[in-house]
């Protein structure tokens, strides 16, 4: 066997290995989606979306949970987006490479790996008790913001790093201040990556259950929230609650709610891809 033949075999088998790796995850996802759709799809109708929670599986709906999820989504975005992007810009553009900076860096990377329930306990102590926000939407959103901040910071920094330094140098050379350079050059050039990071982080936040249960999200809320101080429930909690009920009808409801939640997540990811493509096309150097 010649060397070339050997190399070709290795090449082919590595390709095959790659294909198996790719389809392993997809196959699991396919089975999961098939199971859920088979059980829950027929349950989804307009009433299911607009009904309040009920003890009768047939009458129960996810209205308040969807509303809670949307509130949480919007408020978490409003809180985490400026904080995360601001911190990312500071760390990437302003800090010098000191010991303190690398300490901050390590800590942020570590924070991304802290289990979400820990954030729940932190949120309970700080936002719910010390700030006296109670089990409100605001307390829940602040807690989730803490949870996803590290992800946003890291994504922002990566996106800023990808901007060629020649662009920044050119801007500075033309007499632009640091702020003007960041606002007019670096940020627009990296916004696609920043937004992708933010949206993926928020997709994660809307699937979280544990921290919100600790903070005080409830199981039965018969009204849609009307202010940030209202009590709330979210879809993962409603699903969790239904899965643990004895009647089979609730398992069907849970599947249907999972489909709705999946749709929301897919939509978020779709938006992320759309923005990334759109903004990347715009950049012309």
């Amino acid at each position: 066997m010649t060397n070339a033949q050997k190399n070709r075999i290795i090449d082919k088998s590595f390709q095959a290995f790659g294909v198996v790796c790719t389809f392993f995850g997809l196959a699991i996802l396919a089975v999961l989606i098939y199971n859920i759709f088979e059980e829950g799809l027929s349950r989804i109708n307009w009433d299911f979306i607009t009904n309040l929670p009920s003890r009768r599986p047939q009458k129960a709906g996810i209205y308040t949970a969807v509303m809670g999820t949307i509130w949480i989504l919007v408020m978490t975005t409003l809180i985490a987006f400026p904080l995360g992007v601001g911190a990312g810009i500071y760390l990437e553009e302003y800090t010098k490479k000191t010991k303190l900076a690398s300490l901050l860096e390590i800590n942020i990377a570590n924070l991304a790996g802290v289990p979400s329930i820990i954030y729940g306990l932190l949120g309970l102590e700080i936002f719910v008790r010390i700030f006296g926000l109670g089990g409100s939407l605001l307390a829940g959103s602040l807690t989730l913001s803490l949870l996803i901040l590290p992800i946003i910071i890291v994504a922002t920094r990566e996106a800023l790093k990808a901007v060629p330094s020649s662009i920044k140098d050119a801007s500075m050379a033309l007499g632009a201040s640091k702020w003007q350079t960041i606002w007019n050059q670096t940020l627009p050039a990296s916004i696609g990556g920043v937004l992708t990071g933010v949206i993926l982080a928020i997709s994660r936040a809307i699937g979280e259950t544990a921290p919100l249960i600790v903070v005080g999200a409830l199981a039965y809320v018969p009204f849609a929230p009307s202010s940030p101080m209202d009590e709330f429930t979210v879809m993962p909690i409603q699903i969790f609650n239904w899965v643990s009920r004895p009647q089979h009808g609730f398992a069907v409801n849970a599947s249907a709610a999972i489909i709705v939640l999946l749709l929301i997540t897919f939509m978020m990811n779709g938006i992320a891809v759309y923005f990334r493509n759109k903004w990347q096309k715009k950049i012309k150097w």
Binding site: P53, R55, L218, Y220, P246
Partner: protein, 320 residues
């Protein structure tokens, strides 16, 4: 950047509109019903009691649509923690309040009334393919579950002569649940005392799954979960010293299924009971619960007992 702002605006418009729709619906209902009552009632506590309280809250909306009743599921212990801090008006509990929790309430100046709302039977279950077992005595259950059994009682043949020489696989609720507290107290004599080497889950459906797929499995949980899974499980009779009794609606309600049937409670805070909407809610609760309890898988108290609970509540509110 503008596009983002547009999207955020769009989303907020959608859900503002959606909440408006709800509000107009609500006010239409109002003209027909008791719109005098307003306010909010916060309830939290046991997940065992949750289905009952949820059902009552659902029905209460038809009576007093402007009262916002919310129900959480922090567990009996978690519920009492919030109750003793004055954060909730009513606490759901699947066991009576503990001394430690009583002291916490006293320290914060909270007094309360305990009301029994229904019975819950704990069922001992095995796989339908298990053909050697139809009942166990309390002593045998203790032998299986007591702390000393850990790593010692590992095979069916060790429990009773004639049982197969096969490994036994145990399933039960996690240590944070009131169900676990109650079972260990009734069987092992001390709350929280049991072996640790069993499959524990807070989700009873996981236990159902475990036992129904394991011929040598044995476990315990609330009777409601058996009623919904009759075809997958086999119920075991329990001999509490006066013959074998199978847990059914009847044997739990008349108290012959002992020691594994227990009352479940709600606790009402004194400050909350000064509010009219809370009084109406609790009265409504006691009126409706016999019917609801049955519907969601629990067992109603005798009618005389409900009358007694209602009297107890009346005495509690008129005391002040």
């Amino acid at each position: 950047m503008k596009t983002i702002i547009k999207i955020i605006l769009g989303v907020s418009v959608i859900f503002t509109l959606a909440s408006c729709r709800r509000n107009t619906e609500k006010s239409a209902e109002n003209t027909l019903k008791d719109k005098e009552l307003r306010g909010s009632i916060k309830i939290d506590g046991s997940s065992t009691v949750y289905p009952i309280t949820e059902a009552i809250a659902e029905e209460f909306r038809a009576v007093a649509p402007e009262v916002k009743v919310t129900v959480g599921v922090s567990g009996t212990g978690g519920g009492f923690k919030k109750f003793s801090r004055g954060e909730t008006a009513i606490s759901d509990a699947s066991r009576p309040i503990k001394d430690k929790e009583k002291i916490a309430c006293e320290e914060n100046g909270i007094s309360y009334v305990q009301l029994e709302v229904a019975y819950d039977g704990l069922a001992v279950l095995v796989n339908p393919a298990n053909d050697w077992l139809d009942h166990l005595s309390v002593e045998e259950l203790k032998k299986i579950w007591e702390p000393a059994a850990q790593g010692v009682i590992m095979r069916w043949s060790q429990i009773r002569d004639g049982f197969p020489d096969e490994e036994i696989h145990l399933f039960g609720p996690g240590v944070a649940s009131g169900t676990y507290d109650y079972f260990t107290k009734a069987i092992c004599g001390e709350e929280g005392a049991s072996r640790g080497d069993y499959t524990a889950s807070e989700d009873d459906n996981v236990l159902v799954q475990g036992i129904s797929t394991d011929k040598y499995g044995l476990g315990f949980f609330g009777l409601a979960y058996f009623e919904e899974n009759k075809d997958k499980l086999k119920l075991v009779g329990v001999d509490g010293g006066e013959g074998v009794v199978i847990p059914t609606q009847a044997t739990v309600a008349d108290g012959t299924y002992q020691p594994l049937s227990r009352p479940i409670f709600i606790y009402v805070k004194d400050k909350a009971a000064e509010r009219e909407e809370v009084v109406t809610f609790v009265t409504f609760y006691l009126e409706l619960v016999p019917e609801i309890a049955q519907e969601v898988g629990y067992i109603a108290l005798p009618a005389a007992e409900y009358a007694k609970q209602a009297e107890k509540f009346q005495a509690f509110i008129s005391k002040k």
